[in-house]
């Protein structure tokens, strides 16, 4: 792991406590380090500072210096340097620390200012929390509890604004709830590079809208829903489906590319309702593509495989595994692993390959990256296959070598872990020449041609790890139970390994890890439970020479680009 450079530190005093924070930190973040909450709406750590909601006001003072001599002025009362307190509140979000800065986060001036802002935010707000999707995760609700008046002094008519504007295919806007914090506007412009949102009209009649002829339809549009502090922007998909407080949150990783966006699965009673990003400042900040969020729909898809099959007929797992063992023992086996499988699964598959003397293959899945959070490598875990030794070269989109081997009669049995061999270039004629053992989640041409089908679990139904493009190993957990008839991939793979007679590996992630750590140099000394939620960077030295397909994305520069930059400077 490469250590981050030590930042320049500045010492400030917040509510009487001295704290050293990195230069450039603002007061909200500095206070957070002391577990002091400075309530805020418009400030977002990953967006430019707008300073418009005025909720984050604090009282602030700077050390006094004699104007003539520049010498510090001592306060006789305390014996310390005198502090010149500014007689009006300042915004915490827009105030960066300076040496000796003094801050009060809950003085009467601060309370008064906050309560004023809170009252102002509520007078024209529709107060329709009982029918609002944001209820339960609404900053306005939360802070009204802390800083609200408890009763209303407002007897005028409230402003009326559009209640259900479709800003784009996935985002619905309730303008009456909008507090005009401009987070969504700034996100679209600064992060999504799609400057489509703005305000029309003035004052309290200001209304969020798309620029004429534009729509909020980029692949990051749902991030505006995440960062909207109120219920103004809602996900058209999630809207009115479930109260958030009923939902269980499970950490996961976006499976759509090698970026490895950190995410959360929100589920209740075995049903997934939505996916949202999870903050990881080294990977995805607080963002996630829309396309990764709808992948939960794969879980309950109609083409899910839930029946174990042997030569087209339903059977039990044991019988099918028995039949598979016979095929494996007969030799001439080839194994097609998956860049979508976990490190643990790839590890067992590698053991299966070793036990059967088979060669491991992987299928590449590439498309152009979006320079943000979707990379050119659309497999989440090609590097896992390298690290575990399942493969030693980068995969190709087509299994040409395997085609040749089958054609030449060298291969009799092909094990596919979730890959559609047909899509990977093996013709129906070739597939007809071999026995196919298909271990996977969804029906496809390969499952249709398979002699043995072993239904397994979707990422959201199991635990494991992926290694992303940065060689960062990241964990995911089971959010929902598997459908009846499907078995954890690790159980299936462990049984197959055991059936070859070499040894009986563990079939559960935690139990398996000591063996992984012992066998895989890059993962030595690690245990599943010790990997932090934001992942661990592995030593990538053994693979630096490989021509990885990824271009630059957020927090990632390909080695070639780094080298070119170093050569320039």
């Amino acid at each position: 792991m490469i250590a981050a450079p030590k930042p320049d530190l500045v010492t400030v005093n917040i509510d009487g406590v001295d704290i050293s924070v990195p230069k450039g930190t603002n007061v909200i973040e500095a206070a957070k380090l002391l577990q002091k909450d400075v309530p805020h709406y418009c400030y977002h750590p990953k967006l430019s500072v707008a300073g418009n909601c005025r909720m984050c006001m604090i009282e602030m003072g700077t050390p006094a210096f004699d104007p003539a001599t520049k010498a510090p002025v001592t306060d006789p009362a305390t014996g310390k340097q005198k502090i010149n307190w500014i007689p009006r509140p300042q915004i915490g979000c827009g105030t960066t620390v300076s040496p000796g800065l003094h801050v009060k986060t809950s003085s009467s001036m601060v309370k008064d200012a906050r309560e004023g802002v809170m009252e102002f935010l509520l007078i024209n707000h529709p107060l329709d929390c009982p029918i609002c999707d944001q209820a339960g995760e609404c900053k306005l609700q939360e802070q009204a509890t802390g800083y609200g008046r408890g009763y209303s002094r407002f007897i005028e008519e409230k402003n009326v604004k559009p209640k259900r504007t479709q800003l784009g295919p996935r985002v619905t806007l309730d303008d009456e709830r909008c507090i005009l914090c401009s987070r969504c506007v700034r996100f679209s412009k600064e992060i999504a590079n799609d400057d489509v949102l703005g305000f029309v009209d003035r004052g309290s009649y200001s209304t969020l809208t798309c620029h004429p002829g534009k729509k909020l339809e980029n692949n990051y549009s749902l991030n505006t829903v995440d960062i909207c502090p109120v219920g103004a922007l809602t996900s058209t998909d999630f809207r009115f489906k479930m109260r958030v407080w009923f939902l269980k949150q499970t950490n996961t990783v976006d499976i759509e590319s090698s970026v490895g966006v950190n995410a959360v699965v929100w589920s209740r009673e075995g049903t997934i309702y939505r996916l949202t990003p999870r903050r990881n400042d080294e990977v995805n900040d607080t963002w996630m593509p829309d396309s990764g969020r709808i992948l939960y729909k794969q879980v309950a898809a109609t083409d899910r495989l839930t029946a174990v099959k042997l030569n087209g007929s339903d059977t039990s797992l044991d019988i099918a595994l028995h039949a598979a063992a016979a095929l494996l023992k007969a030799g001439s086996v080839s194994i097609v692993g998956s860049g979508r499988a976990s490190v643990e699964e790839q590890f067992l598959l590698k053991q299966l390959a070793t036990a059967t003397g088979a060669q491991g293959h992987l299928v590449a899945r590439t498309a152009s990256g979006d320079k943000l959070l979707i990379s050119a490598d659309r497999n989440p875990n090609v590097r896992g296959a390298l690290v575990t030794g399942l493969i030693s070269q980068l995969p190709c989109a087509e299994l040409k070598q395997l085609s040749r081997d089958i054609d030449e009669g060298k291969i009799k049995t092909v094990v596919s872990h979730g890959e559609d061999l047909h899509a990977a270039g093996l013709t129906a004629a070739l597939l007809a020449k071999v026995a196919v053992i298909y271990i996977g989640t969804h029906a496809n041409a390969t499952s249709a041609a398979a002699n043995i089908i072993l239904p397994t679990l979707h990422t959201f139904e199991k635990a494991g790890t992926f290694v992303n493009q940065q060689f960062r190993i990241q964990k995911f957990y089971a959010a929902v139970p598997a459908p009846q008839g499907a078995t954890n991939d690790l159980v299936v793979l462990a049984k197959l390994v055991a059936s070859t007679g070499t040894h009986t590996p563990a079939s559960e992630v935690h139990a398996l890890w000591p063996a992984i750590a012992a066998a895989v140099p890059a993962l030595a000394t690690m245990l599943y439970k010790n990997i932090p939620d934001t992942g661990l960077l592995l030593d990538a030295t053994p693979w630096v020479g490989l021509p990885f397909v990824e271009g630059e994305t957020l927090h990632y520069k390909p080695a070639a680009a780094i080298a070119a930059e170093a050569a320039r400077s």
Partner: protein
């Protein structure tokens, strides 16, 4: 004491019979001689003269002009821009428009001198959107000056080049706030910027150092360079140098514009001697001394305290009529000189209705970015409009005041003060009228004009 005589420096030729706004007329009257003199000097010397003059900005805040110029980041390597703030929109203010309509070359000369003094290569005149005629006149005047090699490349053969562009405003009061103006000039909504970090002198137009000055301020620069800073500083009083233009409107016999050495005339002299006093049969009730956002003064109230005269501290005990019309005295009594718009109200005016009118204006003009101003201005407007057009309650007085108190000092720009000071001051000074309005309304004639 009778009023001093007018000293027409900036308005020397305004409404002068036979004076036209073309360059020939301006040149006949000695125009552009000061520019010729200026470009032969060192820019830093010119800046020093402006500093010495004690000139204070005429856009509203009275900020020392020489000091403002000294804050400009001259080391960034970026171009320095100068913007002429010609957005004149503060209710009660109508001086810049006269200058631009009748004596545009005075502004252009002042602007060019200021540009030269600050190494500015590009200047913009941001003129209020509702002044198309002014924009047309300025365009023509700039073309004339360019034809005479007074604007544009290689001015007067000195090798110094500077362009002036006229930019028509976006039709909102907030476009006059300097950072809102800059946003608007950049083609965006005139949302004022947060300061820090966006001080115009460092991160202004296109994130370059920028000077924003009022039309009248830049005209004064011409006269400062003409006579020298020290000489100019002799006009007016210490700390309030030069002349001030008062735009008097409302209930006086002779409303209009008047120019006096700053600090030499009192409110009483201005309203009674110069403007002819109240209308027949009426008495003065209140006056707003510096544009509608300045705090109102109530005739009959007294202001007491100590003030500096020379080096001594002396007691003062003034009625409204006794207050000298300069920045410091008006600030001392809790109001401001602002833009020089003096709005007079006599006893025919109901203060609730007057405030309802002002509140309607500010509510309409709030840009809506920051919560206290956006919501507060509308709430105040809703309350005061309801009082006038619907049901008034006794407790509305206290409510109005309390809403107004939650705004100033907590907003992105000074509009927060502008929109809340009227309500705050009206409620402090005419509380009885607000509390009694429900009763008073019952006796109002049915055919009264609706104000809001």
């Amino acid at each position: 004491m009778p009023a001093p005589t007018q000293h027409r420096l900036i308005f020397q030729h305004i409404d002068e019979p036979g004076y036209s706004n073309d360059i020939d007329c301006y040149l006949r009257n000695g125009g552009y001689e000061v520019l010729k003199k200026a470009v032969a000097q060192k820019p830093e010397d010119l800046r020093e003269e402006v500093k010495k003059s004690g000139l204070r900005g005429r856009g509203g805040a009275g900020f020392p002009c020489g000091f403002k110029w000294s804050l400009v980041d001259r080391k960034s390597g970026k171009p320095i821009y100068l913007i002429v703030n010609a957005d004149e929109s503060e209710p009660g203010t109508f001086k810049d428009r006269y200058i631009m309509h009748q004596d545009p070359h005075q502004l252009i000369e002042g602007t060019m001198i200021s540009c030269f003094a600050n190494d500015v290569k590009q200047a913009y005149i941001y003129i209020r959107g509702e002044m198309p005629e002014g924009a047309r006149i300025l365009e023509k005047a700039i073309a004339e000056a360019r034809a005479q090699n007074l604007v544009g490349p290689n001015i007067l053969g000195t090798g110094y080049s500077c362009e002036i562009f006229v930019h028509r405003g976006a039709g909102a009061y907030i476009c006059g706030e300097e950072t809102g103006l800059i946003e608007s000039l950049e083609g965006k909504r005139a949302n004022p910027r947060i300061k820090p970090p966006y001080f115009p002198a460092v991160l202004g137009l296109y994130q370059c150092p920028t000077i924003v000055n009022n039309v009248e301020t830049l005209c004064h620069v011409k006269h400062i360079v003409q006579q020298g800073g020290a000489e100019y500083a002799k006009i007016g009083t210490p700390g309030n140098t030069g002349t001030r233009i008062f735009c008097v409107s409302g209930h006086v016999q002779r409303p209009g514009y008047y120019e006096f050495p700053a600090g030499t005339i009192t409110m009483g002299q201005l309203l009674n001697d110069v403007c002819g006093g109240p209308l027949p049969g009426r008495t003065f009730k209140a006056v707003i001394p510096g544009g509608s956002s300045a705090k109102v003064l109530r005739f009959g109230e007294r202001y007491k305290g100590k003030r500096k005269v020379g080096t001594d501290m002396v007691d003062y005990d003034w009625g409204v009529e006794d207050v000298p019309m300069d920045f410091d005295s008006l600030a001392m009594i809790g109001s401001m000189g602002g833009s020089g718009g003096v709005i007079v109200m006599d006893d025919s005016v109901n203060m609730v209705e007057a405030l309802a009118n002002i509140n309607a204006f500010y509510q309409h003009e709030s840009c809506g970015q920051c919560t206290p101003c956006r919501e507060g201005s509308l709430w105040m407007k809703k309350i005061s409009s309801r009082m006038v057009h619907g049901e008034a309650r006794k407790e509305d007085a206290a409510l109005l005041k309390s809403v107004a108190d939650q705004i100033p000092g907590r907003t992105i720009c000074a509009f927060g003060e502008a929109c809340s000071w009227p309500t705050q001051s009206f409620l402090i000074k005419f509380k009885d009228e607000f509390e009694g309005y429900a009763e008073a309304k019952k006796n109002l004639p049915a055919d009264r004009l609706s104000l809001v």
